[in-house]
Amino acid sequence: MTYTPTEQANIDAIHKFMEAEAVPDWDTVYQFIAPDCVNYSPTGVVRGHEEMHRFDAAMFAGLQSWRRTILDIVADGDTVVFRWRAEARLRPSGKQTVWEALSWVRMKDGQIIEGWKYFDSAEVGRQLRPQKKEAAL
């Protein structure tokens, strides 16, 4: 695989972004996101750093742990697409959830300027629902 220097830099940026997220080191994570970045996903549209901070705060409040692993990545011009697996442990139940998703991002100057996340919200929803308690006899 031969990438142009920009494509290779974009791939490297995504790997660093994911490493920072795993720490989590949010200051570094946000260095890879343009201030006016727009992110589309089945759960809605999030625009800019401020809305992203609010979204992240709400999401991570419900998680004990969170880790994404890149399964595959391709770069083409200003586009990077990567398949990933998320492993999360829910708070307070400690329930482990795992799902796969795909991110399609457009990059400029080493930052994500637009992103689309694709995942099956039905599958994720099933996993996030609290487990049913056994009915008392």
């Binding site: 695989m1 595959d72 697409v81 398949r83 694709y118 599958e123």
Partner: protein
Amino acid sequence: MTYRPTERANIDAVRRMIALEGERDWEGVYDLVTEDCVTSMGELVLHGKAEMRAYDAKYFIPVFSRSARTIFDIAADGDAVVFRWRADATLAADGRAVSWEGVSWCRMERGRFAEGRIYTDSAAIQRQMRPPKEPTP
């Protein structure tokens, strides 16, 4: 964007497949797929062309009287082709129009589809497939 001849051929194969789907030329579509192609969408995994045919014959072809996908964006990298698309379809049962978006991540072998992963939100599709509620008197 400079593609190698193989990447260009892979992009052309994707566009040909999408055009054949729109014409509902299913045999033309299957000609572009290897015999042992593995297709997955969430927890559903189809092994080989025969399983793909059986699935389409039961769950796709009779359900939609019309269906066509439009490619928004396409990226090619080595033997991988990834494309974002919107599907517009008409339900055979009642003529309602439905649409959904997704990404297909394909691995190609000699111009044919050897592996395909579809990332889409099945919840969005299911919501649209439900019969409309009768107005309350």
